[in-house]
């Protein structure tokens, strides 16, 4: 059914299943009726405060209320920008500087931090906003195709990029992903990802569009995989859309010798390649689960490709990332920019972002005219990923064309880590290497600073998943004739490759 507004889905589902649990974080749960009412109230409160088609920062603890806050921002015709309490201060400062939000939604726990971060903004406490007398339905009209959200990802220069997604892109995602993956209201999701990226939108769509239920899995359970699976079993969680490294983590720790997920019907993994050995371990533990490999980019509203994985996989062959959702176009461009059977993956369609927030230069580098119909086509996104088509016409992900990596499910520009290291005193040159088989980031540098100075200095500047595992001082680093650091020589010298 065609919807004009993303929030219409919640209206419809809350009419059908008002008392069903929508989201729970273990402490607080919201039924569909409660979720809709909370979002309507937050939206009314924001409108009453004068917010209109502008960014609203959300700095709250990961939980069901945070989701209601995001939806409330949409209800007000504004766009939400997740600010996470776990982000390092310097990164938050940069984001707020780019954004200059007039309004920040926060909770008691984060109020002081929110005030320190952005003293000029108006700080609205969620508990107050959710109690504001709002209408009992959400808007059914689209907000003139404004933005829905901005999420910040790693940028190679050290300045995070604010990926700006339109409401129409979110609406397109809602119309395609739940159908492609056959979501229905019998699903109970266990959300692994943080809410400050876009990965959890898959579960959001399952809940809002199809009437499923989702639990936010406590992060600490991932250091205790047996308890994690027990938690999943106790709540009859039957659908997991996780980053590949989270699936790997559970199976590599031999969890299935002690306990297996009893109810699993659906498994979607994306963001990284899942090693066939780990995939097989999950398939054996959960023989009844449908399995999908997903692929996409934050710049294209999350996932754009899917591939049903059936039966045992050949360890010698890569698992395809498959075919695009309806309405999404794929081009593979060779080095001359001509469509080919192998080359840079370029994605077109309603999923493509509006741009990087207040960053026309980097937007122009990422968005290009439609390669086949440059005059009439819309802008397409250059992923920087390299792909090819297999004999079935399925897309195979080959690798990256630059220094961007996927580490523990997060997108990381090695250049951003290098830029952060170079901003520290006593660091002359710095180079980051990713050791893929050990999932480790190594940093080599020259200069008088001690490794410990870098370890401490980088912790303040970078999120935890971006801090190097090894920091090593060198008297010199090898260079190419053009003056650039010779990464291949370092690879040979340090890793014997």
């Amino acid at each position: 059914m065609y919807m004009k507004s993303f929030l219409s889905y919640l209206n419809q589902t809350a009419d059908l299943l008002p008392d069903k649990l929508a989201f729970s974080d273990g402490e607080q749960g919201l039924t569909f009726r409660e979720l809709r009412q909370a979002a309507a109230n937050v939206g009314a409160c924001l409108r009453h405060s004068g917010a209109k088609a502008e960014p609203v920062g959300v700095l709250m603890e990961r939980g069901a209320p945070e989701i209601a806050a995001f939806l409330g921002v949409l209800e007000a015709g504004c766009f939400y920008v997740p600010l996470d309490e776990q982000m390092p201060r310097e990164r938050l400062d940069r984001i707020v500087r780019t954004l200059c939000p007039r309004f920040i939604l926060t909770d008691r726990k984060n109020l002081t931090a929110a005030e320190g971060l952005c003293p000029a903004a108006e700080h609205l406490l969620y508990t107050g906003a959710a109690a504001f007398p709002g209408p009992d339905r959400l808007r059914d009209e689209s907000a003139a195709d404004g933005l829905a959200y901005v999420v910040f990802t790693s940028g190679s220069t050290g300045e995070p990029k604010g990926v700006s997604i339109r409401e129409s892109s979110l609406l397109d995602y809602a119309a395609t992903l739940p159908e492609a993956l056959s979501f229905d209201d019998s699903l109970i999701f266990g959300i692994q990802s943080p809410l400050y990226f876009d990965a959890w939108l898959k579960e959001l769509l399952g809940v809002i569009v199809k009437g499923a239920t989702a639990y936010l899995l406590p992060r600490e359970l991932f250091v205790n995989p047996v308890s994690l699976i027990q938690y999943i079993n106790e709540r009859q969680i039957n659908a997991l859309c996780w980053v590949s490294s989270a699936f790997s983590l559970v199976s590599r720790l031999r969890t299935f010798y002690a306990v297996v997920p009893e109810h699993l019907k659906l498994m979607c993994f994306g963001s990284e390649v899942l090693p066939v050995k780990q995939l097989t371990a999950w398939q054996k533990a959960c023989p009844d689960a449908r399995v999908f490999q997903l692929y996409g980019a934050t710049e294209c509203t999350g996932m754009s490709f899917y591939h049903p994985v059936a039966g045992p996989q050949d360890p010698a062959k890569p698992v395809p990332v498959g075919k695009p959702f309806p309405g999404t176009r794929l081009y593979l461009l060779d080095d001359e920019g001509q469509p080919s059977k192998e080359g840079e993956i370029v994605i077109g369609g309603p999923c493509v972002m509006a741009g990087y927030y207040k960053d026309p230069v980097r937007t122009a580098a990422a968005l290009i005219p439609d390669p086949v119909d440059p005059e009439h086509g819309e802008l397409c996104y250059r992923t920087g990923d390299h792909g090819r088509l297999d004999e079935n016409g399925d897309l195979i992900f080959v690798g990256r064309r630059d220094q961007q990596i996927k580490h523990m499910g997060h997108r990381v520009e090695l250049g951003e880590i290098e830029a952060a290291a170079l901003s520290l005193k006593g660091v002359h040159e710095a180079v980051c290497m990713y050791v893929a088989d050990r999932q480790r980031i190594d940093l080599f540098y020259t200069g008088p600073a001690q490794p410990w100075d870098l370890v401490v200095g980088l912790k303040v500047k970078l999120p935890g998943y971006m801090t190097p595992s090894r920091t090593e001082q060198r008297s010199e680093l090898p260079h190419l004739p053009n003056g650039k650091i010779d990464r291949r020589a370092i690879e040979q010298k340090e890793y014997g490759k």
Partner: protein, 77 residues
């Protein structure tokens, strides 16, 4: 394996932590779930110490001493 070898594995992950004295490594989020995977893999690949799924609980990873006690139990089995 020796306690010093275990300290080497841990220092490789977090050179800024004094693992001889640090407590509450999991409770204070010094070690992440992915660190735990790295440690378990390293113990298995380099030292042939196979931790079971039920051994992977916060209590066993909260300090280097606790983890070493677990390793010794496994080695003596």
């Amino acid at each position: 394996m020796t306690f010093a070898q275990l300290l080497d594995i841990l220092r490789d992950l977090h050179p800024d932590i004094d693992f001889e004295t640090a407590e509450g490594l999991i409770d204070h989020k010094v070690l992440t779930s992915f660190d735990v995977v790295s440690i378990v893999a390293e113990l298995s690949e380099t030292y042939d110490v196979e931790l079971g799924a039920v051994d992977i609980v916060p209590e066993n990873f909260n300090s280097a001493r606790a983890l070493f006690a677990l390793i010794q139990r496994i080695e003596n089995e």
